[in-house]
């Protein structure tokens, strides 16, 4: 069974003002998107050029295998990063043009969190996680998209967590499910709290975007489409807690 998110965008009767605003956001989106892609592209290009230069300068016919392996590994990882970014941009485009379609099926939310965590452990072997999960919480919604939410929130904590321990909790109180991730990192100012989520809903000049990332915007959209919300609590230089709240009865 599918459900389609209700959108605030009417199909007819858009005023010139609204159209201009949409065009502005589209321009901003393209600027931000190209900006975001340039970082992994920079790394990828430099890697390839260093590799090429190594190859030209080398007077011996065989290469230091370890060096080559390391370089190639990093290049692949950069290419994957770019792939993820492109996917995120496609998601955002879909969200804004009301093309996001969500599946509706029952699934074991606890298992989903477990599998996302396993992936994090592999991706970030040196990162400490303390985990408290309630087992066998069932939920009805789009499993892959909810998985994306958990993944994005965790990625964020790892990125801004200053490599300090991250606490992950999955709990349920009556019909409400709470997934919270607490890091001890940089923290978020009041101004940035709004910016993080309202990525394209405010007129933020592209020059002010400091690579904050698209993950949380997408996560919020998905959670809201499932009738839930994401809450943020944070103190500068002390850390942040992101809490995903889902209500079992709310899946439309």
């Amino acid at each position: 069974m599918n459900f389609i998110k209700q959108s605030a965008l009417p199909k007819e009767g858009l005023s010139i003002e609204s159209l201009m605003e949409l065009l502005f956001y589209r321009e901003e989106f393209l600027t931000i998107a190209s900006h975001e892609l340039k970082t992994p592209l920079t790394a990828l290009k430099l890697h390839a050029q260093v590799f090429k230069r190594n190859s030209i300068k080398n007077t011996v016919t065989h290469y230091e295998k370890k060096q080559v392996d390391a370089l190639v590994e990093q290049m692949e990882s950069q290419a994957n990063r770019m792939g993820k970014l492109v996917d995120a941009m496609i998601d955002i485009s879909r969200i804004r043009s009301n093309q996001m379609h969500y599946l509706k099926e029952p699934f074991n939310l606890s298992e989903t969190v477990n599998s996302v965590l396993k992936h994090q452990f592999i991706e970030h072997p040196l990162q400490q996680f303390s985990v408290k999960l309630k087992e066998n919480i069932t939920f009805i919604g789009d499993k892959k998209r909810i998985e994306q939410v958990f993944s994005n929130v965790l990625d964020n904590a790892v990125k801004y967590g200053k490599k300090l321990p991250i606490e992950v909790k999955l709990t349920q109180r009556k019909e409400t499910i709470f997934f919270s991730v607490t890091d001890l990192g940089y923290g978020i100012s009041e101004k940035d709290k709004k910016r993080i989520f309202n990525y394209f809903q405010r007129a933020i000049p592209a020059s002010e975007v400091s690579g904050i990332g698209l993950g949380l915007f997408i996560a919020q959209e998905i959670v809201q489409a499932h009738g839930g919300e994401i809450l943020v609590k944070s103190d500068i230089a002390k850390g942040s807690t992101f809490k995903v709240v889902l209500k079992k009865g709310n899946a439309p």
């Binding site: 992994p40 920079t42 790394a43 290009k45 990093q74 940089y186």
Partner: protein, 134 residues
């Protein structure tokens, strides 16, 4: 003995590490620092003989942007650290007013290795061949 080239880039560890790798491969000493705040603290504790000969800093960094780092460094240490030449790595061509800072070079992403190495050699000449170019 040449002073190292300092690379400050938090946004992407891979960019920082490949930039250092590229320089080290040319026998150029590097000093990687992970963001503007850490860099300010570290650099402020150095004695002048250990100052880097060039600072390469990324524009987009959480906490403190590259521009803010440059402005802070030059405001707080105008006669010492503030005089170190700086190259700003950015994804877009800057506005004249935004970047009207002296002694500042701009590197546009994605960076070309030859441009990067030529810039490095300006401040860290090769001991054997001072006219080498890439």
């Amino acid at each position: 003995m040449n002073k190292p080239i300092c690379i400050i880039d938090d946004d992407d560890e891979d960019v920082r590490s490949v930039m250092c790798y590229a320089l080290e491969f040319e026998d150029i000493k590097t000093l990687p620092l992970e963001n503007g705040i850490v860099a300010l603290e570290y650099l402020s504790k150095l004695s002048p003989k250990d100052y880097p000969c060039l600072i390469v800093v990324d524009y987009t960094m959480p906490g403190m942007s590259g521009i803010d780092f440059i402005k802070t460094l030059r405001n707080e240490f105008p006669e010492s650290l503030g005089k170190i030449p700086i190259a700003l790595v950015t994804a877009r061509i800057p506005d004249k007013n935004e970047y009207d800072l002296e002694n500042l070079k701009i590197l546009i992403k994605p960076i070309d290795l030859s441009d990067f190495l030529n810039l490095a050699r300006e401040y860290y000449p090769s001991p054997l061949n001072t006219h080498s170019s890439f």
